[in-house]
């Protein structure tokens, strides 16, 4: 590189530094503070001076049944909903890709749910799943079993929370898988048509393997985002009955803002981070194995 070009290159710093600094200052640097706090006891109410306690906070969380319960709840809701999101989303994308009649009608309606505030969606769900006054109850009564207490029993509540997540985020999978389908090379499919290979084998033999890397990425994004769930739970069940539907984020929020024990809360959120990284790594390792089988 000549000196002049290098000098001209320097303008790149002007472009990237503002964004870099904002992310560093707002997203990353508070983490350093939180990391320090997680090794201390700090209470706001009643105020106690910070004191280093080593790994005590972490040990306390690791032995708390509520923590493991919230991991289990979060993982259950996430896995159920991501599974259905992927299957349904992919099928819808295939249908749209093959120009199902009335495609123009579906597009906006299909997209809309993912742009709505989860809090608003939760409010709607509360009306729709009302055990006496809601339309779902009407349908259940028609089928012979009515008045299911959707939000006050553990399993129905977890199912409702999963259904909401599926309703809201299936469009995301559809959107990305459709984009992936449109990007596939046409020649392969034409060749398969000439060889008279049926649609079923065409899908498992060509489409699915070719979209596998995209699928892995889409499911990964949904898993990561799913683990953050709080809004709908906060509005619909508040974690109840008891703490049966308390998710990790809600648990951390409750600990922090009801007990004001900040050291413990910070430790908890770092445990959360470790859980997410653990799950993420396991998933990516498993996904790599599956992908390799198709290569």
């Amino acid at each position: 590189m000549t000196g002049r070009a290098a000098q001209r290159d320097r303008v790149k710093h002007l472009f990237i530094w503002p964004a870099f600094l904002v992310v560093l200052a707002i997203s990353l640097f508070p983490l350093i503070y939180a990391l320090t706090v997680s090794f201390q006891t700090i209470r706001i109410v009643p105020p106690t001076p910070p004191r280093f306690v080593g790994f005590d906070n972490y040990a306390e969380i690791a032995t708390s049944a509520r923590f493991w319960g919230s991991i289990w709840t979060t993982a259950t809701i996430t896995f159920i909903s991501v599974f259905f999101q992927y299957v349904l989303g992919f099928m819808l994308a295939l249908a749209l890709h093959h120009n199902v009649p009335g495609a123009a009608l579906y597009r906006v309606t299909f997209l809309l749910p993912m742009f709505l505030a989860p809090v608003g969606v939760a409010l709607i769900a509360r009306m729709v799943f009302h055990p006496y006054l809601g339309p779902v109850n009407d349908a259940m009564v028609a089928m012979g079993f009515g008045n299911v207490p959707f939000l006050t029993q553990t399993w129905p509540a977890i199912m409702v929370l999963s259904v909401i997540d599926i309703w809201q985020w299936t469009p995301f999978v559809t959107l990305l898988m459709l984009a992936g389908l449109q990007g596939l090379p046409q020649e392969v499919f034409e060749a398969a048509q000439v060889d008279d290979i049926g649609p079923w084998r065409r899908f498992w033999g060509i489409t699915f393997p070719m979209l596998l890397p995209l699928s892995v990425a889409v499911v990964f994004i949904r898993l990561i985002e799913g683990f953050k769930i709080i809004d709908t739970v906060f509005v619909l069940t508040g974690g109840g009955p008891g703490t049966a539907t308390e998710t990790l984020t809600l648990f951390a929020y409750n600990e922090g803002f009801k007990k004001f024990n900040l050291g413990l809360t910070s430790a908890l959120s770092f445990m959360f981070l470790i859980v997410v990284i653990l799950f993420g790594t396991l998933y990516l390792v498993a996904a790599r194995r599956v992908t390799r089988r198709y290569e």
Binding site: H98, V108, A117, I124, Q182, I230, T249, V276
Partner: protein, 339 residues
């Protein structure tokens, strides 16, 4: 071909089924907003004019402020969302442009040194000096940055990270559960507030947080959109000795308009709907709509018509966003962003 026809029919049935599933809750919230109280408490009603007489009373009540202040959260949500979206798309586009057109070489060792100095330095300052937390963090940030930038210019052993790694660094901010940084930001903002600069429950604080929150999306999406902008025009301008900044503002930005619109829409939706940060960082003056909505649940009980009006207010702008993006999806614009 009969096989194909069967599949087509299955696809159509699936689409119609999903259309019903997707649209029914929306239909429900729209009609419920027009229901009189009796049409709610007497069991589910479905058809306006047949099952019940629609009324505008819920809307009148809401906007007259009978059920708490609606206008306040609407105004703060709008202002915060628009400014934060504009800022993060602008900064994100600049960063994305740098990542598309220039090469960055960052030595892993310099990055590690940065992490060690910032964590270690902060702990030292926190334990051995009486410095307030924000000052300590600021000092550590400046020192660690200066040292690692200087180090990055030396010949260090170890792997060198490129543009893709920088992009990944931006995007990886989304992997962190937001609660991790939300609490830290809350504590930090409280400390900065004690030092004299109020950030909790202020416009500036919320915009700052949401700008950082939207940046990963903006960088990621704009990088793909900008990489499709042809290089030739820019090269011609460079030969004519037109500065990079002018090229960026007068050539690149206009050519990337569709991408800018799409990215803004997506970032806007995320900021508009964001709940957790708003829950922690606002208490009254700058409360956003999602917080108002969550409050409706406990304070309204079964006044579904009022709850529906509140939900509709937050949904309405997003219908526009989804419509615009739906159009763009048809033109295949979004297919570039998945690579």
């Amino acid at each position: 071909m009969t096989e194909n026809r069967g599949l087509r029919r299955a696809g159509l049935i699936l689409c119609l089924f999903w259309l019903f599933v997707a649209a029914f809750p929306l239909y429900w919230v729209v009609i419920t907003a027009f229901k009189p109280p009796l049409a709610v408490s007497g069991g589910a009603t479905y058809l306006p004019f047949i099952d019940f007489q629609p009324t505008l009373q819920a809307f009148r009540d809401a906007f007259a402020g009978l059920r708490g202040d609606f206008w306040g959260p609407i105004v703060s949500s709008t202002l915060i969302a628009l400014v934060a979206t504009a800022l993060s798309v602008f900064l994100g586009t600049m960063a994305a442009y740098a990542l598309v057109r220039f090469t960055f070489r960052i030595r892993l060792l310099a990055g590690i040194v940065f992490a060690v100095i910032s964590v270690g330095g902060f702990v030292l300052l926190d334990v051995y000096t009486a410095l307030r937390v924000p000052y300590a963090l600021a000092i550590v940030l400046v020192v660690a940055l200066a040292v690692s930038v200087w180090l990055n210019g030396r010949r260090l052993p170890g792997p060198v990270l490129g543009n893709d790694d920088v992009t990944f660094w931006f995007v990886s901010q989304r992997i962190f559960p937001p609660i991790v940084s939300a609490f830290a930001i809350y504590l930090l903002f409280a400390e900065i507030g004690k030092a004299g600069l109020p950030l909790l429950d202020t416009f500036g604080g919320m915009v700052l947080v949401y700008t950082a929150f939207g940046l990963p999306f903006a960088v990621w999406l704009m990088r793909d959109f900008l990489s499709t902008v042809p290089l030739e025009v820019e090269e011609a301008a460079l030969v004519d000795d037109i500065g990079r900044l002018r090229i960026f503002f007068q050539i690149v930005l206009p050519m990337a308009t569709p991408g800018l619109i799409a990215t803004s829409m997506i970032v806007l939706a995320f900021v508009w709907n964001e709940f957790l940060f708003a829950l922690l960082l606002t208490t009254g003056d700058w409360q956003t709509l999602p917080i108002l909505l969550a409050g409706q649940n406990s304070s309204r009980g079964d006044e579904w018509w009022a709850i529906s009006v509140a939900a509709l207010i937050s949904i309405a702008p997003m219908v526009v966003v989804a419509t615009v993006l739906g159009r763009m999806m048809r033109s295949g614009l979004l297919s570039g962003s998945i690579k």
